[in-house]
Amino acid sequence: MNPMMALAELSPKLQLLLPEMVIFVGAVIVAIRGLSRSRSARESLPLLTCITLLASIAVVPLAWSADGSADTGLLLPRLGRFVDPMIAGVAVLLTLLGIGTVDRRIEATFACGRGTFDPQRVIRGEFYAFFLFSVMGAMLLANATDLIWLFLAIELVSLPTYIMVAIGGQGTRPHEASVKYFFLGAMSTAIFLYGFALLYWSTGSLELIAIRDALAAQSATTGISTVATIGLVMAILGLCFKITAVPMHFYAPDVYEGAPTHVAAFLAFIPKAAGFVALVLLLTCVGWSGHSFLDADGVRIAYDGLPTPIAAILWMVAVITMTLGNVGGLLQTSVKRTLAYSSIAHSGYMVIGLVAGSAAGIDAILLYLLAYGVMTTAAFAALSALERKGEELNSFADISGMRVKHPLMAWMLALSQASLVGMPPFIGFVAKVYLFIAAFEAAQFSLVVVAVLNSAVSALYYLRIAIMPLVAPPSARSDEVTVVPSAWPRFAAVVCGTATLVMSVFAGSILSAARESTSQTKAVATAMDAPKHP
């Protein structure tokens, strides 16, 4: 094959990867620039990261300008169009969270002249490069065409995060978090990898579209084979690690608590988004009932729905995840840990979208991911904007009476909790309602009931985090709380807090964007447009 022709054939695909390429370039620049002797150059790294991310958002329209004109081999051809900007957008805010935190001690040493510059002791460049790589991995996932891509992208998301946890902050707690995160992450990777192998064995292909067709063929004759089922189950369970869902969620409280706050915020969103995108892709191969696709011959093939065991497993995962997350959250005295449990619980809610499937389910997941990203970032941002004697805020005593000294952060924290609990009119509420709508579409009434009860239970601890800073009197610990030197975390908190409210106003457009991105091809009507009762 002529290389030029191959390139020409590839070009539509490459065009789709424009945002990722931008990030890649940015990451390389950041990594190199991090070694600069110039302090200002090093301090400009977060800014550079932001610019990179914003640039990648900016090229998203460009990437999809030739939308649908070529066969890109994508299962959900427009998924990236929503997922990429979403991930990059939240990542911009996540970048702001950590400004001034990474390398702070070393930089301080340099600044007061006690140490000489040593490129081996400076890690800021690495950190932001890893940051960008991880984000890039998450964005790449949306454009995955086969299992290899999927696997590599997931690993690209994960591997940098292991390091980020370890190097993003001070003390030994990040180390412990990192080791737990890494080892358990490796185990989960092995699990889904084995699942991929079985899936490959059963369907004969690594390409998602081919897998879809093979599974459809299987289910049309004898039903999806056992090997495929077990492979899928293992893949799902392995990915559950990324989304902190039962039974792979146990690491989350420890890691979130141990990780630096801004990295915890990162962990709460980027791997989770990646995991859900991967799960969406995997399950789209199996297909939900009420969904149909056009095969190569233009024949519409309707999905039979998830195989019973998988549907049942997802159902159980959803129920147990949200329940365990919420009841676990009740017992905590650490804000970060509570937010970790909240993260678990929210994954449980989002799994409802996976169970529900269909277009509405995926839309709901995307909307919920965005909402969750913004509101949990708001909470973590409010925490990371403050410190107590140079240490991160963690216990409830630290935030008690925060209003007195740091009213704005107190309000933003409360705002984020209100959104997390699903209080109207915040975006968390809209997302939750839409999730329930999706569940109704799939006649998953029991899940709605469980989720509703769980929302009420979760109110117990969200309310505590919201009320503590606003109402409780300042404690001895919270009197010592000061703002971090950088104003950016505060800015991020305000932006995210405001966004929880503003986004709900524009929830309609966000949702329609999400919906557009999940339609399989232009010709295929989604379940939303053509109602059909299961």
């Binding site: 080892f183 185990m187 293992m234 039974p247 409280p253 497993i313 329940t323």
Partner: protein, 711 residues
């Protein structure tokens, strides 16, 4: 039981008579002025004058209406509670407008209500003068509100208007009984009056609902029309229960057994209030209600009998209690209950005429008695114990009070040729000449009660007005706060009443005497009794004793040939016999009182001591003095168990329902959370085992499902 069914004339719609609304409006306007006076801290007698003028004008208007009266009319004023649904048919609307129903019964009642109201207000303007200022305004505000409510009660064209007035007079009673609010006893009495009345009101309200659900209307005219149209024949459970419910309301307002307990306590109010509200007018609202709704009391054969029994029983009970009271006002209060018992007995045995006539006469003489008692109280700094005042008529300046009280006592004792004699006679005659043996029995009980009445009435008079001059001044304001600021409060000598009080006493004496005129005319000229005529034209016509279109007279006609031909009393012609027996009873009672309380006062004490020493009857005097322990029984039977129950509920609400159940459910998630806590041990391998175990379990489950075959 009367079987006689009068056809009640339909009312004409007369919007042109809307000036009658002014009768109600005037007291309301007066109340507003009084309230303003209070708010503006007026220190003059302006509130009293305004009230007097307003009430006088009301009375004048009622008089005008009386003279122009031609037949029942309905006067619409404005729409109050009024709405329709569906097609808006008979059972698809609720119409209780602010409108007036004017028939002779209304006018009869309004005449003495507004008349006595005016007069007693004049009395009060002097009586309350020590309180000039906020209290004065408040008092006359209460009086105005009362007159407003009473007018609404009597003149309203439907039962909801009646209910409005009914509750309104209760409110006025509450405010006025509790006038002297810094005394806990007054506050308690006011509260008790309102709450006990509310129990009766419940019956009334339910009766109204029952009428409405069965007849589709609460307007008198339509209700009567339904009755005329044969509504009485459809006797089923919920219709026959109507009179009993209404009766409960009447018993509450008119202080009949078992709801009479509030009235004696209500004497905590200023005396003009006792005279106006708790003797002359408000307490007769029950009589009015039954008279007004008389046809409905014929719906159930036992309804009127129940009224009669309760009335007679209350009359006797109250009389026995009244015999042993030492507080003058309380004696009069029990006499009021007793006399109201007579009225109910009259209603029950079927003579609305007798009942209304007795209401009429009673209003005058009982108001008179109360006002004399008030004068005593006013002069003696709140002293009301009849053991501590004696020989009043010999004290200068008190002669008029003594003699007007004497007149009042004579009337109350129903000595022959007094108005009360005739009115009581009308009731007892009907009872004694009834076909029913139980009514005859009730009649005799009534006669016996009459003797008791005469005794305890003159016990007061002989003790207080006659005998040697001897008195102790009251300790302080006593029952009326007004005396607190009175310059004479702690004076050693009583101060005699001035012209306002005296004039009113005189006027009421004349009124009491004059209230007998209809009977005198009847006896002397055989002209129809005025009251009887008034009643006969109203919805209570069945018991008026005059022949009417609907049937033949089976009720004795007073003054005709001496009663029905078949009825006899002690073998004599019923009328004559009753006159003789009744005279004997009252005079006998007076003589006994004379002996024990004037001639040989010590013998009364020795008799009581002797009685007390007997084992069998020793408890009776104490029981009588303590009102037969009715309050205590109520307290023990109802209030206490309910209070204990309420305490238990209160604690249960706090500790069980909220503490155990709600908080327990709230803790449930925390408990569940604690169950799973060991899984988050913080040990890496622990997590790995749990995760791998979870995955293994799920895979095992999938395999198991696979073994069983998918689906």
């Amino acid at each position: 039981m009367t079987t006689l069914l009068a056809s009640i004339p339909r009312a004409m719609n007369a919007p042109e008579l809307s000036w009658l609304g002014v009768v109600i409006l005037l007291p309301l306007a007066a109340s507003v002025v009084c309230a303003l006076c209070g708010a503006l801290k007026c220190r003059t007698k302006l509130p009293a004058f305004v009230t007097i003028v307003a009430l006088g004008a009301s009375f004048a208007l009622v008089l005008k209406a009386y003279f122009e009266y031609t037949g029942p009319v309905e006067v619409p004023i404005f729409e109050w509670i009024n709405f329709h649904w569906g097609s808006g048919g008979k059972f698809q609307s609720f119409v209780a407008d602010c409108a007036l129903y004017i028939d002779s019964l209304t006018l009869f009642w309004m005449l003495f209500v507004t008349g006595l109201g005016t007069v007693i207000t004049i009395y009060a303007s002097e009586y309350m003068e020590a309180d000039t200022g906020a209290g004065y305004s408040r008092f006359f505000f209460g009086i105005s509100i009362f007159l407003f409510s009473m007018s609404a009660l009597v003149m309203g064209d439907n039962l909801v208007m009646l209910y409005l007035g009914w509750e309104g007079v209760g409110l006025a009673s509450y405010l006025l009984v509790g006038y002297d609010y810094h005394r806990p006893s007054a506050v308690a009495a006011a509260k008790k009056a309102f709450i006990v009345n509310r129990i009766g009101d419940l019956g009334l309200a339910l009766g109204i609902f029952m009428l409405w659900t069965n007849y589709g209307t609460v307007r008198y005219d339509e209700l009567f029309a339904a009755m005329n149209a044969g509504g009485r024949s459809e006797i089923d459970w919920d219709i026959s229960v109507i009179p009993f419910l209404l009766m409960l309301g009447a018993f509450g307002k008119s202080a009949q057994f078992p709801l009479f307990v509030w009235l004696p306590d209500a004497m905590e109010g200023p005396t003009p209030v006792s005279a106006l509200i708790h003797a002359a007018t408000m307490v007769t609202a029950g009589v009015y209600l039954i008279a007004r709704m008389f046809p409905f009391f014929e719906l159930h054969q036992d309804a009127l009998a129940t009224v009669a029994w309760i009335g007679t029983g209350t009359a006797l009970l109250a009389a026995t209690i009244g015999m042993m009271q030492y507080d003058i006002k309380r004696v009069f209060a029990y006499s009021t209950i007793s006399q109201l018992g007579y009225m109910f007995m009259g209603l029950g045995v079927g003579t609305t005429f007798g009942a209304c006539y007795h209401t009429f006469t009673h209003a005058f003489f009982k108001a008179l008695l109360f006002l004399t008692a008030g004068a005593v109280m006013h002069g003696f700094a709140g002293q009301l114990d009849l053991r501590k005042i004696s020989g009043l008529r010999h004290i200068p300046g008190w002669r008029l009070v003594s003699w007007t009280m004497f007149v009042g006592c004579l009337w109350l004792a129903a000595v022959p040729f007094t108005a009360a004699f005739y009115s009581k006679d009308a009731i007892l005659l009907t009872a004694l000449s009834s076909d029913r043996w139980d009514f005859v029995l009730l009649g005799w009980v009534g006669l016996f009660t009459a003797a008791l009445t005469a005794y305890y009435t003159f016990r007061v008079w002989f003790r207080v007005c006659a005998g040697p001059v001897k008195y102790e001044m009251g300790s302080d304001g006593g029952h009326d706060s007004h005396a607190a600021g009175d310059p004479h409060a702690h004076a050693a000598h009583p101060h005699a009443p001035r012209w306002c009080i005296k004039g009113v006493l005189l006027f009421l004496t004349i009124g009491a005497i004059a209230s007998g005129i209809p009977s005198y005319r009847q006896v002397l000229t055989h002209a129809p009794n005025w009251v009887q005529e008034m009643i006969a034209l109203s919805s209570a016509a069945d018991g008026a004793g005059l022949p009417h279109d609907g049937g033949s007279a089976s009720v004795p006609m007073l003054g005709e040939t001496g009663g029905p031909h078949h009825a006899t009393v002690l073998g004599m012609d019923a009328h004559t016999g009753l006159a003789i027996v009744g005279s004997c009873a009252s005079i006998g009672g007076i003589l006994v009182a004379f002996y024990f309380h004037l001639r040989s006062r010590r013998s009364a004490d020795s008799l009581a001591a002797w009685l007390r020493s007997r084992r069998l009857v020793g408890w009776i005097p104490d029981a009588m003095e303590h009102k037969w322990y009715v309050d205590e029984i109520y307290h023990g039977m109802f209030r206490m168990p309910m209070w204990i129950g309420a305490q238990i509920l209160s604690l249960g609400d706090k500790h069980f329902l909220d503490g155990a159940i709600v908080d327990g459910i709230g803790r449930l998630p925390i408990v569940v959370g604690k169950l799973f806590r060991p899984l988050y041990s913080g040990v890496l391998q622990g997590y790995a085992v749990t995760m791998a175990g979870g995955v293994g379990l799920i895979l095992a489950w999938v395999m198991w499902v696979w073994m069983r075959g998918f689906n």
